[in-house]
Symmetry: C2
Subunit: 491 residues, 2 copies
């Protein structure tokens, strides 16, 4: 039968009724993470402790791992040292380290006091690896076999070690000098003849990472080589840990969420959204907005310089938002493709010329489509009166004599009025073409340039792009306007 469902209320009722038998059954038929989420919603810590006392330790270890940090802290507070040791010793070291990173100092001390001495040394070491490196996500519970063993001997050894290792699906093979010489997939071991030596069936083309390799790089390797686990080496090329594919699934999602966040001008959250406090959220959101606001000064400057021209041909103002939005949007498309491509290692800064040629070509097509559509659409906007030419009386005789006749005759659409409207549409369309094209080119140059100097392209490239494109589009716009309406605008 498929997994059963349980609600917080049902679980609390079982605890209140001290229905030990049913609680134990629940742990057999409901995945632990579903139960953990119910536990997170139970406020009374005594009820939680009852569960830990009732259920088999093979389940409580998992349950503890899956609880939220707050619930873990609550439980640690009320448990005796003996009970705590019991739970902690059955946890995988990497999970334990993840927990400790989020805990207040007094609890960390208490936890460290309640684990074995050897384990404490390992934990302390893991806690010291820099965040987002291979060292910070690796586990030290891996299985090493000698390359001189036979398949049958290996299986016997695996069985004797028991279920204390993070994975037995990838086995790490060492020679007699304790150098890593290969990896072995468990299925190859199962399928091998009993007397085959491991060094004839192991993979010699295995991949390793250094302890300070970035976790995104680790994820890319595991994905590229379709690995179940990867070896982590220290500076002396000794095997000191492994990283398994299920940890990498989280990394991939985390890095993708970071890309989305940065492209949307949020500093990546350290906790999940719901666990991030209001003040933390403000800290993540405000700095970027302020930076962008300061960068916006450049477009304010340009507009300020030309603001008197706007007063002379007011209709020009109506198209400023759509102009700047479109520049930002077309550039944003390209920069997003660049940043994801770089993140997933689909290409590197070395492919620069190939990408630039490709993007320039499609920029020409895309900009032309947009400009043609925009010309037609803006003319419709003016024809229907959605956007009006505004008060041109200030131009006196000249405005009225644009092509020799009055262009504004009451409220009706005259030939001369049409000519002026078309001229405005043309200015906007030409500006759009140039802005879209340049935006896409800048959107290639910036992230690839930033990546080439080994900085994170997502952080630096995006705000600069907006600023550059905004300023370019305004300069082109007013330049084109002064050319087209030179008799009115150029004094």
């Amino acid at each position: 039968m498929e997994k059963e469902l349980i609600t917080t209320e049902q679980l609390e009722q079982l605890i209140d009724a001290k229905n030990v038998k049913e609680i134990r059954r629940i742990f057999e038929v409901v995945p632990t993470i579903d139960i953990a989420e119910c536990c997170d919603d139970i406020d009374d810590v005594k009820k939680l402790v009852f569960i830990f006392k009732t259920v088999k330790s093979e389940y409580t270890a998992d349950l503890f791992t899956e609880l939220s940090p707050e619930t873990k802290e609550k439980i640690i507070h009320v448990m005796s040292d003996a009970e705590l040791t019991n739970i902690l010793e059955s946890q995988f070291t990497d999970d334990l380290v993840d927990d400790l990173e989020d805990m207040p100092a007094n609890l960390v001390t208490r936890v460290l006091r309640n684990v074995s001495k050897e384990r404490r040394t390992v934990i302390n070491k893991l806690l010291n690896y820099q965040e987002n490196t291979a060292g910070s996500i690796m586990t030290t519970e891996f299985l090493v076999l000698l390359d001189s063993l036979s398949a049958d001997e290996a299986i016997k050894q695996i069985r004797s070690v028991g279920k204390s290792k993070e994975t037995i699906y990838t086995l790490f093979i060492m020679d007699s000098k304790r150098n890593l010489v290969g990896t072995l997939d468990l299925d190859d071991l199962i399928f091998a003849n009993g007397d085959t030596k491991l060094n004839t069936i192991m993979n010699r083309d295995y991949v390793t990472v250094q302890v300070n390799t970035d976790q995104e790089e680790v994820a890319n390797l595991i994905k590229r080589y379709d690995l179940n686990a990867i070896a982590v080496l220290n500076n002396e090329s000794r095997l000191i840990g492994i990283i398994t594919v299920d940890d990498i699934v989280d990394v991939i999602e985390q890095e993708a969420t970071e890309d989305v966040a940065i492209l949307s001008h949020v500093a990546p959250l350290e906790d999940s959204y719901l666990e991030t406090s209001t003040l933390q959220m403000a800290k993540k959101c405000v700095p970027w907005i302020v930076v962008l606001l300061i960068l916006g000064t450049f477009s304010s400057m340009v507009l300020s310089i030309f603001q008197d021209k706007l007063a002379l041909v007011p209709v020009l103002a109506a198209f400023i938002p759509v102009l700047m939005d479109t520049g930002g949007n077309t550039g944003g498309q390209t920069i997003a493709l660049m940043i994801r491509g770089l993140a997933t290692k689909e290409f590197t800064p070395k492919d620069f010329w190939k990408i630039l040629r490709k993007e320039a070509l499609s920029a020409i097509i895309i900009s032309t489509c947009i400009a043609i559509f925009a010309f037609i659409w803006f003319t419709i906007e003016q024809y229907t009166g959605i956007v009006s030419l505004g008060d041109l009386t200030r131009h006196g005789g000249e405005a009225y004599n644009f092509v020799g006749k009055t262009i504004w005759a009451g409220n009706c659409w005259t030939f001369e009025f049409a000519a002026t409207s078309l001229r405005v549409s043309l200015i906007v369309a030409v500006t759009l073409w140039l802005t879209s094209f340049l935006a896409k080119i800048v959107a290639v140059l910036l992230p690839l340039g930033v990546a080439a100097i080994k900085k994170d392209p997502a952080v630096v490239a995006q705000p600069l792009l907006t600023t550059i494109v905004d300023v370019i589009s305004l300069l082109v716009y007013f330049g084109a306007a002064m050319l087209a309406f030179s008799s009115w605008l150029v004094v």
Copy 2:
């Protein structure tokens, strides 16, 4: 020793020299995907065929899988039917189906002619599953064991079936009526006593998906329950396929890239960036830009209505871009958090009130910080002359008599000038506060609302947000300006 490296030139030289021994060694010490990338760069198809004839079939099956679609097509073209059958029969069905989806019809026919009849039936069925569903990514090569077997019998059976299954790390357990009753992790089988019956050690709390379940949902389940493989059932609840974690790694990355693309107004690419043609790229980019351009009409309308006011107080124009950008940016932050949170199942539309309260609270803090900073910054901009108040002469006596004295005395900063500048800064800051706050609220309402009616929040919510925020910010801005400069602006 760790994996070796190889370049395309080295590989071509080995082929030219017909150095069979070294080529075979290369396949032992270099991961197949690295060799496949070199092969993709070799133009001469005869050289590629030489590799396929030289190397052991266990490697060529993998090599073929890893080649690019173009290289695959080239090879299929020149191979004899017998050679083709050889390679195809050693491929996993799900990989083969992925290939077929990208191939021209004549090659598909040829491939289907060269596989066994039973396989053809399976392939045709898989080809008919809708894209992005469980059915389209599942494989039919899974291992089923009877629940009445003992552990030793099970291991014997696994060994006899051999390496033809996609995974043996998760085993699927059926009762005598061929109903799925449990799953079993290979390590639990290895650690069990030889005579233990499978139905006492299997997991009864397993999870399944339907054949038409969305692949993103499948990814979320595998991640949540830390699975190595998940069972896919048909409408009659029969096990018809499985999906393994390595396929899910690709799905997670693909879905993340899609989120980034859509948030950046690109329709998700079907192929990788480098493989997408210029015309395809234009098709992915242009429609969104055109839609946004049309939606931009609303802000043009608002600006057109107020354009004569801009002519009266020209300085107002200078702050329009920064105003609209900031509204878009603050809203964009929230919408990105919402869309990723919904995609990774961190929360659902049911958490609406919790999220709205949280976001409203942080919106108040964030907007206040921004508004205060903006007020100071815009005043500095005006004080330093980066942005000038513009030509106010048109307001005649009134402008000059703003607080009873001339406000513009040559080029110097007078008290009255300062008062006007501060008033402008205040208008912009107040507008910024309101826009930022409303943008964040709308950015919660839109994606959660769209998700609640089961549509993709990323596609619908983002363009609507920009439009709504642009219009709101302009209306608030001119409203505030008319209040503050009522003597000049309200006739």
